[in-house]
């Protein structure tokens, strides 16, 4: 929609707060909660946001890693193909309906979803950028990582422009600390794998909440790329491109899993990659 400077100000887009132990607040850019200047304090408006429980460890990442560790790609294929594997009952797809909240769609929510995607893409772009500098990659590893980085950078600028196009405000890019995962090839690849799969689940989790058809189409066109990323990294890693056990609805990888924004943000919190804004 074309923006119009005379429309009433749209509330600031959702932001992630790095404040531990506090309710998640959304602060306008000019907010200085402790300022002695009343004008700065008055800038602090709050909106409701799903509460993020803060956990102490990187448990989620570790759990996901442990689930795939030790399987070479072909060993995985063999096991998965030969093993029983769940055959879906006839109600499998329709059974997904109950857990879909009948939430009201809105442009405001679309902007929040866009900023959510924007945050994830910013993180991935920064992660790959840093790995290229630090992880001493070469050959196929480096080639793929450069390509992944360029995709995420494209997603970042496209999402940022789209947020504005919707009349929203892109969040300020966070500061990241990747805690050594970008300086070691193995840690890098393991983390990249989890990040990409998280991205797939994150986008899938938003599909039924999006109001704008054009945005839905765009999100779909991105999520498939993230799935390709995940598969490509899995191949590099020597693990299965399909069955990341935390990710699939069925153990055999026939359906990817959607995750709520709350759950994704929680997982993000657990990485401690986001230092602040």
């Amino acid at each position: 929609m074309p923006s119009d400077a005379r429309r009433p100000a749209i509330p600031p887009a959702a932001r992630l707060s790095a404040n531990r132990g506090r309710d998640r607040l959304i602060r306008s850019p000019g907010c200085r909660a402790n300022s002695t200047n009343p004008d700065n304090r008055s800038e602090c408006k709050t909106m409701s946001l799903p509460n993020i429980e803060i956990l102490d460890t990187d448990g989620a990442i570790r759990d996901a890693e442990a689930a795939v560790a030790g399987d070479t790609r072909s060993a995985f294929f063999r096991k998965a193909a030969v093993g029983g594997g769940a055959v879906l009952s006839s109600g499998a797809i329709m059974a997904m309906l109950p857990d879909l909240a009948m939430a009201r769609k809105s442009t405001k929510q679309d902007i929040e979803i866009l900023n959510f995607a924007y945050t994830l893409e910013l993180l991935e772009a920064a992660f790959y950028e840093e790995a290229i500098r630090k992880a001493d990659l070469s050959g196929d590893d480096l080639k793929l990582t450069r390509l992944l980085r360029s995709h995420e950078a494209t997603h970042v600028s496209a999402l940022k422009a789209t947020i504005r196009q919707f009349g929203g405000k892109p969040i300020s890019p966070p500061k990241f600390d990747f805690r050594g995962t970008t300086s070691d090839r193995k840690k890098f690849i393991d983390t990249a794998y989890v990040l990409e799969n998280t991205g797939v689940s994150a986008y899938l989790g938003q599909a039924t909440r999006i109001k704008s058809d054009a945005l839905l189409a765009a999100a779909a066109s991105i999520v498939t790329i993230e799935a390709r990323h995940a598969a490509a990294i899995a191949v590099l890693r020597g693990s299965s491109p399909f069955n990341e056990s935390d990710n699939s609805v069925t153990p055999d990888g026939a359906f990817d899993r959607a995750r709520s924004m709350k759950r994704i943000l929680k997982a993000l919190d657990q990485t401690n990659f986001i230092k602040g804004f």
Partner: protein, 230 residues
């Protein structure tokens, strides 16, 4: 040779209605015009208006069934293709293992789609008869064809996401769509091709950052050209 056409999928005439009902502007092209006319700054690389605009009419339960049958047809094709490949006994090693797993997925997709159509009181299309003309029994042809088929599946699902009315179906379509993308990327990697290109010239945007939706018409035309459906 009878080619698949819209009528074979369109049990309730829903698709035909949808195509006739399309008029004038698609939503995305409207945005483009409105944005330009309204003087808004789009910013470089905004997503809206970047992707091909696919015309469609209002979602409906009937259309959902037609879309499910469309997906079912493609899944039948993939499952039969992979099944024939395994049965030929000509696949070896990693390609064979990949195929066994992907076949399992496609069979699950077939079952799930049929069950969904039934749950919605629709009529599932019957499995077509296929002739893969040796493309699934010759290992080199097999992997190349598999790459195209899987990517076609991605384009096909992408082309339908905005047409689906029932959110449960949309969620399921999303869950299948990304799995097909993983298939495509995996087979590409196994044969040393880019996971972001589909073996043809035009389908993924040049830098590979966005997958491209294809209309049902375009996909059916492409499938028809293969001659796989007898």
């Amino acid at each position: 040779m009878s080619l698949p056409n819209i009528e074979t999928l369109d049990i309730d005439g829903a698709i035909r209605e949808a195509e006739l009902a399309v008029a004038g502007d698609t939503r995305a092209s409207f945005f483009r015009k409105a944005a330009v006319g309204g003087g808004a700054v789009l910013g470089s690389g905004a997503i809206l208006g970047m992707l091909p605009t696919l015309a469609h009419a209002a979602p409906s339960a009937k259309q959902d069934i037609a879309i499910l049958n469309y997906a079912l047809t493609l899944e039948y094709l993939e499952a039969a293709f992979y099944d024939g490949a395994i049965k030929s006994g000509n696949l070896k090693g990693e390609v064979k293992q990949f195929t066994q797993l992907v076949l399992k997925h496609e069979n699950i997709h077939v079952k799930a789609l049929k069950a969904t159509i039934k749950a919605l009181n629709g009529k599932a299309v019957a499995e077509p008869k296929f002739n893969f003309k040796g493309t699934n029994t010759n290992p080199a042809k097999f992997v190349a064809t598999s790459l195209v088929l899987e990517n076609t599946g991605v384009h096909a699902y992408l082309g339908q996401v905005t047409r689906i009315q029932n959110p449960a179906i949309l969620k399921a379509a999303g869950a299948i769509l990304t799995t097909e993308a993983r298939h495509a990327a995996a087979i590409a990697a196994v044969i040393g091709k880019s996971p972001f290109r589909d073996g043809t010239k035009t389908s993924v945007t040049p830098d590979g950052a966005f997958d491209v939706p294809f209309s049902m018409k375009r996909v059916l035309k492409a499938v028809g050209k293969t001659g796989f459906i007898k």
